[in-house]
Structures are given as structure tokens and as C-alpha cells.
């Protein structure tokens, strides 16, 4: 047997893991250095002195960071729930109803998400101002949901297409209505799809910058990425504060991913068919 493709595959995987993790490792190391250590030349690979001062300092001196994280959490969670609800229903309709222009509609939905979000900002800002949605959670949740819905519809519609339609037909013959089929059959069977899509949307929303920057102007309403980037520095950019705050801000995401990743892997359709 030819083993070379596998070795190539492993190399590629290892490479991509290293490339994507190096910045995070460097970020964590930076958060454990003091200012001198950060600017040292040649660069310090291992923090010397190794210190948790930055963490103590940030918790005691800038309690607003926790507020930023909480804001991010509320917005990301709200956005995920809203997106999954609308995207799930839309995706189900698009995957099951035979429409003459179904395929065109799908492409159209995706095309919408190709506009850079920044181009939406002026009109979004004006309308949100009129509607009183600036500096509200629901405002940013709606804006983010609009941004990530096309992706969600596509992900979920393609997941639904993998379910054997006979299960839903059997449910129809058993006497279930469409909504009941969706809630009690389709959602449980597509759970891995919902979890995977929801996680991605959650992370997108958590990290989203331009809309969060413009639509949340009060300091108390800022999300983590915006709040952290606006930390004032006196003479220099406060790298130690920013890296420490960033580490704190990614912890919730790591926790959530860890909780749900098992669900992504375990498929639930086993036993449905042959």
C-alpha cells in the first residue's frame, strides 16, 4: 500500500495546527511577561520574570473588562439563538420544498453575504438611530444575525439534505404536522449540524468588530474585542494589558467549544436507515 499520502496529510495537519496555535501561544506568553520582558531584545521566548501581575492588575484596575466579556456573551448568545431559529426554518424550507427558483434563491442568499459589512454601516447606523437600537443588545444581535444568516441557512440546508426524507414522510403518515416534524424529528436528528453552525456563529459574533464598534458607542455596552482594542495607553501601546484581556476574553469560547465539541462528532442518524 502507498503510505505517502497519509504522511503528507499528517504533515499538513501538524503544520496547520502549529500555524494557527503559535499566535495564541505567543499571546498567552506575552500576558505572563512584564513590560520590560515584552520589549526585550532579543525577544524573550519564556517569560522572565514569569508573572501573573497583568491578570491581577486588569481585574483590580479595569473591572469594565468583565462587563465587555458579559456584553459579548449576551450578544453572541442572542445572535446564535436568533440565527439558528430563523436559519433553521429557512434552511428546512429551502431543502425540502421543491421550488422552481430554489437553487437561484440559495445563491442569492449567499451573494448577500459577500458585501463587506462595513459598506452596510452608514445606513445601518442611521436606521438604528431612528429605531432607538443603538447601544442596545437587541440592536447588535439583529445586526449580527443579519450578517451570519446566509451562512447559517446554507449550513443547515445542506445538513437537512443529508437526512433521509422517508423519516419525515413516515412522520407525516403517522399524523404529524410540518412544525411538529421540524421540532421533534428534524431538530433532534440535525443536532450536530445545529451545534457546529451555532458554535461558528457564536465565535463570529464574539469576534465581530466593525458593527460592534459603531453600533455600541457607550463604554458600558462595548463588546470584548472593541473594548480591549480601545484600552488607552499613555506613552506606548499597552501590549501586556491587551494580551491579558484577550486571553481572558477567549476563555468563554474555549469553554463553550469544549462543552459542545462531543456533540458535533457524534452523529445521531445512525440506525435511521439500513
Amino acid at each position: 500500500m502507498n503510505k505517502r499520502p497519509r504522511i503528507g496529510l499528517y504533515t499538513l495537519v501538524a503544520l496547520s495546527v502549529v500555524i494557527s496555535f503559535l499566535p495564541i501561544v505567543w499571546l498567552i506568553l506575552t500576558s505572563l511577561k512584564n513590560t520590560a520582558g515584552i520589549y526585550a531584545w532579543p525577544p524573550q521566548y519564556w517569560p522572565d520574570p514569569f508573572t501573573f501581575d497583568n491578570y491581577v492588575k486588569i481585574v483590580t484596575e479595569s473591572p469594565e473588562l468583565l462587563l465587555y466579556v458579559l456584553n459579548s456573551f449576551i450578544v453572541a448568545l442572542g445572535c446564535t439563538l436568533l440565527t439558528l431559529t430563523i436559519g433553521g426554518l429557512a434552511g428546512y424550507a429551502l431543502s425540502r420544498i421543491k421550488m422552481r427558483w430554489g437553487a437561484v434563491l440559495m445563491v442569492f442568499i449567499l451573494a448577500v453575504s459577500m458585501f463587506p459589512p462595513v459598506s452596510l454601516l452608514p445606513s445601518l447606523f442611521q436606521n438604528f438611530l431612528k429605531l432607538g437600537l443603538l447601544n442596545t443588545y437587541s440592536g447588535l444581535i439583529i445586526a449580527h444575525a443579519g450578517l451570519f444568516l446566509p451562512f447559517t441557512v446554507w449550513m443547515l440546508a445542506s445538513y437537512f439534505r443529508t437526512l433521509p426524507p422517508e423519516i419525515e414522510e413516515a412522520a407525516r403518515m403517522d399524523g404529524m404536522g410540518l412544525m411538529r416534524i421540524f421540532l421533534t424529528i428534524v431538530i433532534p436528528l440535525s443536532w450536530p449540524g445545529f451545534v457546529a453552525t451555532g458554535l461558528i456563529v457564536f465565535i463570529f459574533s464574539w469576534n465581530e468588530f466593525p458593527l460592534a464598534l459603531v453600533l455600541m458607542t457607550q463604554n458600558a455596552m462595548r463588546t470584548a474585542p472593541v473594548g480591549i482594542s480601545l484600552y488607552p495607553g499613555e506613552y506606548a501601546f499597552p501590549w501586556e494589558t491587551i494580551s491579558t484581556a484577550t486571553v481572558i476574553a477567549i476563555i468563554p469560547i474555549l469553554v463553550i467549544t469544549a462543552i459542545f465539541q462531543k456533540q458535533i462528532v457524534g452523529g445521531l442518524t445512525a440506525g435511521a436507515g439500513k
Binding site: 422517508e166 403517522d174 445512525a270
Partner: protein, 368 residues
Amino acid sequence: MTVVQLDRIGKSYGGFKAVEEFDLTIHDGEFLVLLGPSGCGKSTTLRMIAGLESISTGLLSIGGAPMNDVEPKDRGVAMVFQNYALYPHKSVYDNMAMALKLQKMPKAEIQKRVGDTAEMLGLTDYLARKPAALSGGQRQRVAIGRAIVRTPKVFLFDEPLSNLDAKLRVKMRMELQELHDRLGVTSVYVTHDQIEAMTLADRIVIMNGGVVAQVGSPREVYDTPADEFVAGFIGSPSMNFIDLRRNGDDGWTSVEGHLALPPLSFDTGQRADLRLGVRPEHIEILDPGADDGIGMTFDAKVLLAELLGADALLNLDVDGIRLLARVSGTEHPVAGDRLRIRFHEAQLHAFDCESGRALERGVPTLVS
């Protein structure tokens, strides 16, 4: 009394006619099989009866009531799917009880019905399991049980045994037969497997390319196929076909090779050609010396002999024509043997070369 009536029922997808209009009355308690090759419109027909597919033209009635616009659940039909279509996240009990729960039947009654059905199907020990923890045969039994508990007026089966291995398929086929004898519910059964059709059916509807080719009992479709398609589809291995041309003596000569036949007792009219059909199991191998010269006898050479077990298949060269014969598997001839074979006139079939329609039996028409 549950009679299912199909009145000029047809189905089109856009401009494509998946099922041409046809009439059919399925009698009370009848086991009707829709048989045909893949893509011939069997499932579409069944799904129109189930209500999963809209009816393009015609009228469907079940038990005398028009059903065209009635929801599947209100048609009094239950369906068993090829891939079982069980709810994978629910237990066997919940799978079987679902329809009754939705009908808001009292819990005690549901338990009794599901319990009885499970007992009948040998599923009692598996009621708490999820479908994933069952074998293929058990899953199909659950699917059948799910249909039975509803006490439907009509059972619909769409290739329910095709996902099972050969051995299990035979076993389940017999179980289905017993079940039907016991319950006596009108059933429509779709399959592409002629053995399933022959063994289960009271009547077979043979479809070809969306068109109903013949409706008849297993005996009828085997003995008197309506056309060449049915003749070739029913029977295994397939019927041998020989193209014949009328010769000067009102006998017939094969187009290929040089097989000569006497005038045939079919209603051939003035036809100059026809297609003769003879089943492999109807080619008689004569014992040496047993040739009394009666009937149509020919010299044959065995090109290949395949032992199937009880039977053997012989590839014969008969006057330049290749014919397949099926003989008993004990002491069958082997490749290279020279034989004498006989056709029995009553077992021959004749078809029109253009339309493929079977020719009626009759007096030979003499032209010269």
C-alpha cells in the same frame, strides 16, 4: 370492505410522464404487487395512494371515499419504507406508538396494542431499544409493527425487503405472507424482484416505463404474458427470443442461423415475421434414443453448462442460434455434449416484432 379504486390515475413531473393514466381496482383483502424495473413508476404510484405525492390526473378512492385531497394520515393507510424510516432517536416502543399517541388514544390502550403487535412480531424484548441497536431484520419488523398497530385499512409496502440479505429476505417474505393471511388487510406491495411478486401476490401489476404492461395473477403473467416485455421480465432466467421469418412452405426460418420450424398455431395473420419465445425451463432434453420424431425436435450442442444446485443452465447452440435451457442439476450434460432437444408447441409464445404484443393462439394462417 376496503376496495382501492384507481380511476385514470396518472402522474406528470412537468412535461415528464412518470405514470401514464391507468385504471385499477384493488379488491378487499387482496395482496396486489406492483412489479417492474427501477424507474418504471412503481413508487410514484404507491406514493400517490399514500398521499405523499399529489395525483396529477384521475381519481383515487379508498373504501368508496374520494381521497385525492385527503391528508395521508386520514386515508387509513400505513406505509412501510425500503430504508425502514424509523425515528432513530426514539425507542422501538415510541416508534410503534407514535401514530396512536398523535391520535390521542388512551395510554393503556396504546400499551396493549403495541404490546400485542410486538408479541406477534417477536419484538417484545426489544421495545426499550433504539433502532440503531437492532439488526436489519428487526428494524424492518419494527417498521411493519408501526404500520400494524394503526390497524389501517390498506397496507402500502415500498420494496420493504430490498435492504435485507438474501437469506433474511426469504424468511421475511414468508412472514409477510403469514401476516397477510392472518390480518387479511388490503395490501399494495412494490418490488422489482419477480420472485417476491410471484410468491406474495394475488395479482401482479407489471409496469414498464410508466405504462402498465399487464395485470394478472402470477399464473397468468407467467403462462400468457401480454407482451414481450412481460415475457422477458417474468421468469428466471429470461425467456429465449428467436426472430423468425416466414418461408415458402408457410413454415418459419430463423433470421440468424438456420433454425427451421413448421407452421405455428398462432394468429399470425399475413405477418411475414414474428418473434418466438421459449422459456429455458420449457426446452426438453431428450434421452438418447427417445426421439420419436414427434413435435419440434432439433440437434443441439452444449457450449457451456453451469450448475446452480438443484438445476443447471445449459448454453446451447441450436442450428446457429444461442438458447438457454434449464435442466435438472443431477447428471446434467456438460460442455461439448451433443443433444437432441424438443419444443412443445403449447409452451411457445409468439410476439409481434414491432409492437411486442403477444399473438393469440389460433389456426396457422397459410399464405402460400
